[in-house]
């Protein structure tokens, strides 16, 4: 851009190269384990022995593992219900924060931080104690209660970010032109809000689908979600079947986040 800029860049010759090399190494650090794990799920050997022989045997054995399949169904069902509930309730709260000035608003916004910052271990065990005392107990319903609680702050923050630069004049224009509040909401507000809400919904799905700690404390014996079942299996010993189900999970959750990225810019505007 400016002359000063070019001089500062040229005085920095090896710097950028070293930094770029570092970036590549960090990406390797982040991805190599996942790639190794995925590759071994396609290897025939039960003991992860090489040479690599391509085989789908572990995926086939997965298809016959009713325990993991049940856990998978539980995970998906909970994630879907969680997504709907958290997105609706969170969007409502975000709308109230964006539209109205009221006493206690900053307190309510501050209250979103404990669920995000207190370790899940503490929240999960606290739920275990409270649900025991109140008779809510453990089970899929308790897991769902917990997942929605963890998802809500994310939804409120993500939708709130979208609402922060919402063109209010559009709504006023619609009202001036005679639209009913209901029509204004569905024809004007909803379409503008949609990308934020979709991103929030995908976040909520990912939070629930990948959640292990809360589910671990709230799952009674015999009832599990996928991460809880995988943890139990890992503690028993490594098998390529765990690699196979893990590969499926990582593909699903990375896929969801890639779609989310289309709707939500991570790291703020640039």
């Amino acid at each position: 851009m400016s002359a000063a800029k070019t001089t500062s860049v040229s005085s920095f010759k090896i710097g950028p190269l070293v930094l770029r090399l570092h970036l590549v190494l960090v990406l390797l650090f982040l991805y190599v384990p996942i790639i190794v794990m995925a590759a071994l799920s396609f290897n025939q050997s039960q003991l992860y022995e090489l040479p690599f022989t391509f085989d789908l045997v572990w995926y086939k054995s997965l298809a016959g593992d009713s325990r993991l399949i049940d856990a998978g169904i539980n995970s998906v069902v909970i994630a879907v219900i969680n997504t709907v509930v958290a997105t609706v309730l969170g969007t409502m709260a975000a709308l109230a924060f964006a539209r109205y000035q009221f006493r206690g608003k900053s307190l309510l916004q501050l209250l979103l931080f404990p669920p995000i910052t207190i370790p899940w271990l503490v929240i999960g065990t606290a739920m275990l104690v409270f649900f025991f005392w109140t008779g809510i107990g453990r089970g899929l319903h308790a897991i769902l209660l917990g997942h929605v609680a963890l998802s809500l702050p994310y939804v409120i923050i993500v939708v709130g970010a979208r609402l922060a630069n919402f063109p209010r004049q559009m709504e006023e224009a619609a009202a001036t032109l005679g639209a009913t509040p209901w029509q204004t909401f569905w024809r004007v507000t909803a379409p503008i809000l949609a990308p934020g809400v979709i991103a929030a919904a995908l976040f909520a799905f990912a939070v629930s689908f990948d959640q292990f700690v809360i589910s671990y404390f709230l799952a009674p014996p015999g009832v599990t979600t996928l991460p809880v079942a995988i943890y139990a299996a890992i503690r028993k010993g490594f098998t390529p079947e765990i690699n196979a189900i893990s590969t499926i999970i990582i593909v699903v959750s990375m896929g969801i986040m890639l779609i989310t990225a289309r709707f939500y810019r991570f790291g703020g505007e640039r």
Partner: protein
């Protein structure tokens, strides 16, 4: 009139979400605080009596002092390595790479973070176990080397946790580095400051809020981690988190587990309370 209408709208929009959070977060935390003062687990049918015994045993039994120390140490190691590895990545992304590449690389860096934590920890067992990737690579270069024996060790736990939390550090440092106006750096350069000086005196101090946010976001969950050390560190207790999990899931001593949880939160808050003014002063001093 409009005010009543407005108040009703606010209430009906916020009440469902906050009722939910009350039942699932705030009341449970209160219940757990109460539980931490009981002398018997709620699972025992006999009536419980209020006691400070659980907190006293935290302060008097050497095992908890040891666990606390180990947890803090682990937190410091993981935070330190995340900063060491993550800050240059954030810097490269914020200040050197532009356009579509930046967007793509940024997404690649934080994508694993939003995928399954348990699965990512499991994936490290495939790299670190004897006969795993790292072992194979080392023996390819040095065929006579002994077995690697790194899985089920302290370094394995640190590696796994750094892998888990590194994107936090990159994300927060990136955000604060990105907010630094390039013209500030240019001004320092045109006044004759050397690159290293600019970094030390201008760029790093200005990015300190991101460094601190990232450190806090990493330090707190690492102290409370239990799944990661269980899978990568084997059976030996290294964190308070593992001990807390044990009180709830193995020995069923809920009151002790609850007391340990609150001590863990108290330690974190204490560190923040002591650390915040120090950092604040440092930042003021650098201005």
């Amino acid at each position: 009139m409009a005010n009543v209408h407005e108040r009703r709208a606010i209430l009906s929009l916020t009440a469902p979400a906050y009722l939910w959070l009350t039942v699932t977060i705030f009341l449970p935390l209160a219940a757990m605080l109460y539980c931490s003062f009981l002398d018997k687990s709620p699972l025992v049918p006999a009536p419980a009596v209020a006691t400070l015994a659980n907190y006293i045993s935290f302060f008097t039994r050497p095992v908890y002092r040891q666990l606390t120390w180990w947890s803090l140490e682990l937190g410091v190691y993981v935070t330190f390595f995340s900063l060491l590895i993550g800050y240059p990545v954030a810097y490269a992304l914020a200040k050197q790479i532009k356009g579509r590449w930046r967007e793509a690389l940024f997404l690649m860096v934080i994508l694993p973070f939003w995928s399954n934590a348990l699965v990512r920890i499991f994936s490290w067992t495939m790299v670190l176990r004897n006969g795993g990737l790292l072992d194979q690579v080392i023996h390819w270069f040095a065929p006579d080397a002994g077995p690697l024996d790194i899985l089920y060790s302290y370094p394995a736990v640190v590696i796994g946790l750094v892998h888990s939390y590194l994107p936090y550090m990159i994300l927060t440092c990136y955000i604060s580095l990105q907010a630094i106006d390039d013209s500030v750096v240019e001004a320092a350069a045109s006044l004759g400051a050397r690159t290293a000086t600019i970094f030390r005196r201008v760029v790093f101090p200005m990015s300190l809020p991101g460094v601190i946010a990232g450190s806090a976001l990493i330090f707190v969950p690492v102290i409370g981690s239990f799944m990661e050390p269980r899978i990568l560190g084997g059976t030996k207790g290294v964190t308070l988190g593992m001990s807390i999990e044990e009180q709830f899931m193995v020995t069923a001593n809920w009151p002790l587990g609850a007391a340990l949880s609150f001590m863990m939160l108290a330690i974190v808050l204490l560190i923040c309370a002591v650390g915040y003014p120090l950092v604040q002063r440092k930042m003021d001093g650098l201005k």
